[in-house]
């Protein structure tokens, strides 16, 4: 597999949001608007890229038996760094993402990539993998956020397209499940035909 395929697999073929269904909690929880989805995705990408780089650098130093706790410590430290940066420089985004920032630690996507990719591959490919998967996750979150914002608020990235209130339920909790369900079904329908 060349680096280009390695990078692009996160967008469609192995999209964490629509195909692998990893990291569902932030996916459903923060995508009330496209901006929130984008912010959450980029925060996760930052942690994922850095954790992939660090883990692939020190993979030969970590004893096999304690690798999972070691990965968790690395990821948790990076999450704390991201959390503090966000609190300092993007306070309003930090407030709207809330609890989901510390919960990046338990995002199965990050631990999954560490275990499945970074602990077996070199630094450069791990970086590419982390960036591709992270941006794929960001892409998925932004798409879901856009769909929900469009239906629920008739707006794209905060700009109103049509006056009025929209279908409120798509901004509320049930809309997250419904919107994601229909998007995944739509993608399945296309994949089956192709």
């Amino acid at each position: 597999m060349n680096q280009l395929q390695n990078f692009t697999k996160g967008f469609i073929k192995e999209s964490p949001t629509f195909v692998l269904m990893l990291g569902m909690c932030p996916t459903l929880g923060v995508t009330t608007s496209a901006v929130n989805g984008l912010g959450m995705g980029l925060a996760t990408t930052a942690v994922l890229v850095l954790s992939n780089i660090i883990i692939s650098c020190i993979k030969s130093l970590i004893p096999d038996k304690v690798r999972i706790p070691a990965f968790i410590v690395i990821i948790a430290s990076l999450v704390t760094v991201v959390q503090m940066c966000m609190e300092a420089y993007l306070p309003s985004l930090y407030a709207s993402l809330g609890l989901f920032i510390p919960l990046i630690v338990v995002n199965c996507l990050i631990l999954g990539r560490a275990e499945a990719f970074a602990s077996k591959n070199g630094v450069w490919s791990s970086f590419v993998d982390g960036a591709g998967m992270g941006l794929g996750f960001t892409f998925g979150l932004t798409v879901l956020g856009m769909v929900r914002e469009l239906l629920g608020n008739y707006a794209v990235f905060g700009h109103k397209l049509v006056q009025g209130d929209g279908i409120l339920v798509f901004v509320l909790a049930p809309g997250a499940f419904l919107a994601l369900g229909f998007i995944v079904a739509f993608i399945n329908a296309i994949r089956k035909k192709a």
Binding site: M21, L22, G23, M24, C25, P26, L28, G29, I68, P69, I72, V73, A76, S77, V79, T80, Q83, M84, L99, P102, L103, V105, V106, N107, C108, L111, V169, L172, A173, P174, G175, A176, F177, L178, L180, G181, F182, V184, A185, F186, N188, A189, K192
Partner: protein, 190 residues
Amino acid sequence: MEIFIIIIGAIFVNNIVFSQFLGICPFLGVSNKISTAVGMSGAVVFVITLATLVTFLIQEYILIPFGLEYLQTISFILVIASLVQMVEIILKKITPSLYQALGVFLPLITTNCAVLGVAIMVIQQNFTLGGGLIFAFATAIGYGLALILFAGLREQMELNDTPKAMKGTPIALITAGILALAFMGFSGLV
């Protein structure tokens, strides 16, 4: 009375799955059969209550006195991971029958964000130790309720003729959405 409000609020009004979106991965993953859902719910109730107790004490007596609040995320996740491991070892030794029932679900719980989420929520909402424990227990019961209800629906759905593209996860997500709509009926209760 206040305790009653905490319990109803945590189980129904702010249900952890349907309104807070925590613990979705296992919610979608192990809800194919009622029996596994019951096992998972038991393990979650047990671990969430215990983890909240331990993390609360750590926050109160170690992190705050030494001004180390920024280590919250790291210390909590490590404590939860080792706690799960310890519970597994103890259950195996003391009550093999309970271990048989809950054992397979325990390793899955470390990555269940509901556990870390509840531990952090208890700290953020300034609960006392007793109130926090009741909140954690009730939230976990709410999680179990959601999981078992959903598993029951999915068992029936297996027999239905769903469109090809909808099979599997999409129809599960849409069902969860409808269930979440039903749970919205409880809002305003507390």
